[in-house]
Amino acid sequence: MSDTGTTTTTPAAAPPGRGPGHDRDARPAGEAAAPPRAAGTRRRWVLYAPLALAGGAFLGFYALLRGLGTGSYDPRGVPSALIGRPVPDFALPPLEGAELPALGAADLRGGLAAPVLVNFWASWCVPCVVEHPMLMRLSREGVPVFGINYKDRAEDARAFLRRHGNPYARLGVDQPGRVAIDWGLYGVPETYLVDRTGVVRWRWAGPITPQILESDLRPLLRRHA
């Protein structure tokens, strides 16, 4: 009784054509020379190709997460279309009562003594308050910082500069926000580095932090000096 049980299971244990190895053993001896080899390499390929794919996907995913962590990759960041191009045409009025010269494209084109920062800001913008000490520091160090006051009220802008200090050598007022669109602005603050020939070299969307200042901005200022 018991041995009949084991014998009935033997044919079922080696279903033909399924599972690696069993198939090769089940083949008649005459046929065994050529085809199993081809089947073997194909089977190996079928095994390793998804593994390689998964490995590649893992590395890509890791790089993506690392970039997100360090801030070098921002999926929501809008890359500036202005990099490597001359500054757009514009001429802005000065801020009333601030006694600062106005800003226009002519002030940024041709024969600048040093690279210039153009900073879009507003008194209603909280990150602008955060980055303001960095602009003050750059301005004290002699880096020309030009400002564009975006969609703001003159009295609020003046109060902001009185309270936090004025880093701007020139200041234009873009109340309708049209010039900002010519620059490709999508939020405040945004800061552009314009080289001595009037070409935009760098754009930072968001507040300039001490880290960004040291890792990105200072090397660029040196390179374009």
């Binding site: 014998t7 033909p16 809008v78 279309a81 926000g177 490709g184 939020g187």
Partner: protein, 176 residues
């Protein structure tokens, strides 16, 4: 109690049906009517263009759908350009020059976006290949079974089969 219940039951369907009864209210929710162009044909063009342009602030909405301040400015620019007689392509180019590929909800085919555009075709080809391979394997497998089954039983197998049949017959007979 019984008078309140039917009344309350009627509120929900009424709320659900309201958007169907006033379909014009939904598109008007975004965008001040004062923004619209007087010429309905021009306004329709402006809307078609706006639906293809991404709001840079909210990013997963078109400028026609977005309430963001910048989206409103961009809607106005689109309408201004159209009123000045610009073609659709010129309007799109105006914003593309300023905001790059990011502003286009339909990105152009470049080296960087080739994989993105090819992805559906690649997925389809991959799926078709997988199905073909599976079908071919299934077609091969039954043949192998038939071949092996067709081989005549050896003397030893025949004897074992007889023993099994005898045992089964014995088992069937015993309980009754």
């Amino acid at each position: 109690m019984t008078t309140i219940r039917p009344r309350r039951a009627a509120i929900l369907p009424a709320l659900l049906l309201a958007p169907l009864l006033f379909p014009a209210a939904a598109p008007a929710a975004v965008g001040d009517p004062r923004e619209r162009l007087a010429d309905p044909a021009q306004e329709a063009r402006a809307r078609a263009i706006g639906r293809e342009l991404r709001c840079l602030v909210c990013q997963n909405q078109s400028i026609e759908d977005s309430n963001a301040d910048l989206a409103r400015d961009l809607r106005l620019i689109v309408r201004e350009r159209i009123a000045q007689g610009a073609t659709d392509a010129e309007v799109v180019r105006y914003l593309h020059e300023r905001y790059g590929d990011f502003v286009l909800l339909r990105p152009p085919v470049t080296a960087a976006t080739a994989l993105l555009w090819a992805a559906p075709a690649l997925a389809l080809a991959g799926g078709a290949t997988a199905i073909l391979l599976a079908l071919r394997r299934r077609r091969v497998a039954p043949d192998a079974v038939v071949e092996e089954a067709a081989a005549p039983l050896t003397e030893a197998e025949r004897a074992r089969l007889a023993a099994i049949e005898a045992a089964a017959a014995e088992r069937d007979r015993r309980p009754s």
